[in-house]
């Protein structure tokens, strides 16, 4: 069965040194037929890609192309803003496909050989349709190492991974190299932990290796709890074997025979694919008691997180695996000395481990050649928010934020103005337009008050209220605080109350200073990074967007028009055509007006649900920041 698949694919099994073929994306069939790969990353699944997949299978069958066209799924291809994404073996990328559109593609492209213009990527600036995905700016501006096979291979097939040279690095490491060679190699590559803290991986492995113990553990931290980050999720969904391979190499380097993957239960697809991958690897003897005939034993177990953000912290994660409340503890002793069940334990992030096989195969120098001093290699980011091209991106360390947001991300959607980029989730901060030329590396970003973090990048335009955004993150950390350290448990609560007051229009003189003071105490008085970074979103927004806080407090208005207590909806007399659509959709029936007559919103009953503004086709529903002012506006609108 497995051999047949390999033959059918027409893919050649690559040798260890065959790096050229890694640039090939989806191998073409020797008979000239097509391979259709449908993205089954989380975003595409949400957009209905599985129905598109079924439609392809059905349509291909009906068109009688069953022999020459193969349909399969891939992990996240990256360009999530086009989802559901379908990639053909001639590198054509189709996006926004609905199951009903599939017939057109099958008829036009697979049968007729002509790409269907309508579903190709459209360049926002030139308006030009681009067929080959390599030519799309989003992909051209990237350098992919950790994501090298994500979105390229079928994640549910170990054959597909093996065919691309999978497990060669583990074989090389276990059969020909010593643990010392591996650690030295990883240290030379300059890779630092991709989970956020940026501790050099080689040094970490060295500590774990030097710890004397009858048993050691290797843990892969896949508890990606940051809202707005999905790189680890995409790697696990798109290329689970590379993580397992990284773990095998790591286990050999530090001397561990048991490995755990601590993965979020909120990522059901990643859990499913990882479970399959572990079972496949075990069946092929790539995990077990005798790997590659070297006698090296290593087993991987899956542990599902139960929904606690703090468990991304390594000591809390260990407590959680032990079945306790996930609360961090003081260090030292560091996990490398006393970790899981009191034994030396090494914890690495998913992305770090995904880089390891590449470094072993291509050499430390090749990896160190990328990036900048002290920050080598690449970093994966998840781009989300108001961007033209949202999705999964990997760029060399030291690229500027401008490069990531405008070259890869394609700029702001709808021609709006860039306001800020939020980096590093609830632990990170907001960076304003004036700092767009900051290079993306651990130290430079820390200097701005933000952090690289796990790599979530959410771009916001001028419709987002920064006070509200800061409140959102603080609300999150406040709920997720484990409660051990009082400054974090109560301090975040106090800060949240203050922000709530500001948003509700009851801000007081001195609230900004209070927030800054409390923030400082929380940072100083917390044991782990959750508390130590929790005030960052508030402190950075105060630092760069102080005027917005002041507008909320002093003028009782929300400049972005988001905070409900500080805005009023009204209908623009000029633009309203009297189509009655808003009145029909209003959940509280507070919009009055006859057909073809100007409509008026009854401010007293308006719940500010924003529905009318979203349904209006003529942009006649407007938001005015400030309350008293707006009441006057409505009155004048009614008269006009």
């Amino acid at each position: 069965m497995t051999d047949d698949t390999t033959k059918n694919d027409g893919t050649q099994v690559n040798t260890a040194t065959d790096t050229e073929s890694r640039n090939v994306t989806v191998a073409e069939r020797p008979d000239g037929g097509y391979r259709v790969t449908v993205c089954a990353g989380t975003a595409c699944v949400f957009a209905g890609s599985l129905a598109v997949f079924d439609a392809f299978v059905q349509e291909v069958e009906q068109a009688g192309l069953g022999d020459s066209v193969e349909v399969s799924i891939i992990g996240c291809h990256g360009l999530c803003s086009m989802s559901p994404v379908v990639v053909l073996s001639d590198d054509t990328l189709y996006g926004h496909l609905r199951p009903a559109d599939v017939a057109k593609v099958v008829e036009g492209h697979l049968k007729g050989g002509e790409p269907v213009e309508k579903f190709l990527y459209k360049d926002a600036q030139t308006g030009e349709r681009i067929r080959d995905w390599h030519e799309i700016g989003f992909y051209k501006a990237q350098t992919r190492i950790a994501l090298r096979d994500v979105g390229v291979i079928d994640p549910e097939s170990i054959e597909a991974y093996l065919a691309r040279g999978g497990y060669d690095a583990a074989r090389l490491a276990l059969t020909e190299k010593t643990p010392e060679w591996i650690i030295e190699h990883i240290t030379d590559s300059g890779i630092r932990g991709r989970g956020g803290a940026g501790f050099p991986t080689g040094v970490k492995w060295k500590f774990a290796n030097q710890s004397k113990s009858d048993e050691k553990y290797l843990i892969c931290n896949a508890d990606e709890g940051d809202p707005g980050a999905f790189m680890d999720c995409s790697i696990l969904e798109g290329d689970p074997h590379t993580v397992i391979e990284g773990m095998i190499i790591g286990s050999y380097a530090i001397g561990a025979h048991e490995g755990y993957v601590y993965v979020r239960a909120e990522y059901p697809l990643a859990v499913k694919r990882l479970t399959m991958a572990v079972a496949d690897a075990e069946a092929r003897g790539l995990l077990g008691d005798d790997i590659f005939g070297t006698g090296w034993a290593f087993n991987v177990h899956l542990k599902l997180g139960a929904g606690a953000f703090v468990c991304g912290e390594e000591t809390a994660l260990i407590a959680s695996i032990e079945g306790k409340r996930g609360m961090p503890r003081t260090r030292p002793p560091f996990p490398a000395v006393s970790g899981l069940w009191g034994k030396p334990t090494n914890i690495n992030n998913v992305e770090t481990l995904a880089n390891v096989p590449w470094i072993i195969m291509h050499g430390a120098e090749a990896y160190a050649a990328l990036g900048v001093e002290h920050c080598r290699g690449t970093k994966a980011f998840s781009l989300a928010g108001k961007l033209v091209n949202g999705g999964l991106a990997e760029v060399p360390m030291g690229s500027t934020l401008r490069h990531v947001i405008f070259d890869v991300g394609g700029g702001i959607k709808g021609g709006k103005k860039f306001k800020a980029v939020q980096l590093g989730g609830p632990s990170g901060g907001c960076i304003p337009a004036s700092l767009l030329d900051t290079p993306v590396d651990y130290e430079s970003l820390a200097a701005t008050g933000a952090i690289v973090g796990s790599g979530g990048m959410v771009v916001v335009d001028d419709e987002t209220c920064m006070v509200d955004l800061a409140r959102f993150f603080l609300d999150f950390t406040q709920k997720e605080s484990c409660g051990k350290c009082i400054p974090c448990r109560l301090g975040t609560k106090r800060m949240l109350e203050t922000l709530d007051r500001i948003i509700a229009g009851d801000g007081r003189e001195g609230d900004i200073e209070l927030l800054q003071e409390l923030g400082g105490y929380i940072i100083d008085g917390s044991l782990c990074a959750l508390g130590g970074t929790a005030p960052n979103p508030v402190l950075t927004t105060i630092k760069y967007f102080r005027d917005e806080y002041e507008a909320h407090i002093n003028e009782r208005r929300c400049p972005a028009g988001k905070c409900k207590s500080l805005i009023t909806y009204y209908i623009d007399a000029e633009a309203c055509t009297g189509c009655t659509l808003c009145a029909k959709k209003c959940p509280t029936n507070c919009i009055a007006g006859e057909k073809k007559q100007l409509h008026v919103i009854d401010v007293a009953n308006c719940i500010k649900c924003d529905t009318c503004r979203q349904v209006c086709k003529f942009d006649a529903v407007k938001v005015r920041s400030g309350v008293e002012q707006a009441v006057a506006g409505v009155a004048s609108g009614a008269e006009g």
Binding site: P227, F230, C233, T464, C485
Partner: protein, 253 residues
């Protein structure tokens, strides 16, 4: 001689000074403001026995880890015995079928599944963690009730009350928040007639929110059972939920 004189001088010098000795326990000094004192187990005046039940919560919560709880035989965890089991079953929700729990416990005995995995399995079986199931796990495994409640109340995943047939998860990640996830939750609250986190009285729907589902480009998104919905607007959400409510015959409230 000289040494003696020196000693005498010191004595004489201190003689007229105010005494620094405090006649404890008759006299008590005011403790320094930041003094924390020492730990002591409170004795219940009625029974004369310590109130501490060795729940270990102080041990696990101490930020500097100076507390070690040693169990004495008196407060050792209960061992399974028929009378205790019967009592516990009676006390908790009688009538709940505990058969579904057996595979979970078997798994514990055979493979040594951790407490969290055991609770996850139990929740899969019942949809939530019924009190009786928690008691049963405690009695059968010897893990203290306080530890199980400690763990199950710590993690967001565990629910201690029953949920509806369908769980509506609205994503409240950063991208979804910026794209208006709050408006989606509000629209659902209004259509279902229940607040976020609550279940409709006919037990058809539970409305809940999650931190991030990783589908940021489709923001705002929600998941109802196995179905996923992306690029929502309040209006679209209302339509989806109205159709679904009509389909399953659910009532508002």
């Amino acid at each position: 001689m000289l040494g003696m004189l020196k000693a005498m001088r010191t004595t004489l010098k201190h003689l007229p000074m105010k005494k620094i000795t405090v006649q404890y326990p008759e006299q008590r000094e005011r403790l320094p403001e930041r003094s924390r004192g020492l730990f002591r187990v409170v004795i219940d005046p009625a029974s004369g026995e310590p109130r501490c039940r060795a729940c270990t919560l102080c041990e696990s919560n101490c930020p500097v880890q100076v507390i070690r709880v040693n169990y004495t035989s008196k407060y050792r965890l209960p061992v399974p015995n028929a009378a205790r089991l019967a009592e516990a079953r009676f006390a908790a929700q009688a009538g709940l079928d505990l058969k579904a729990l057996q595979p979970v416990l078997d798994d514990y005995y055979e493979h040594g599944t951790g407490l969290i995995a055991m609770l996850q399995n139990a929740q899969d079986a019942y949809g939530y963690l019924p009190r009786i199931a928690i008691h049963e796990i405690s009695l059968q495994t010897g893990i203290s009730l306080s530890q199980i409640y400690g763990v199950s109340s710590f993690y967001n995943q565990f629910r201690l009350s029953p949920v509806g047939e369908r769980i509506i998860d609205v994503c409240h990640g950063t991208a979804c928040h910026v794209a208006g996830a709050m408006q989606i939750t509000e629209a659902l609250e209004e259509e279902l007639g229940v607040a976020d986190g609550k279940t409709t009285t006919d037990m058809k729907f539970t409305l809940s929110s999650v931190a991030c589902m990783g589908a940021c480009s489709q923001a705002p998104v929600m998941r109802i059972g196995e179905s996923t919905y992306g690029a929502l607007t309040p209006d679209k959400t209302r339509k989806i939920i109205r159709d679904l409510m009509a389909e399953v015959g659910a009532e508002k409230g």
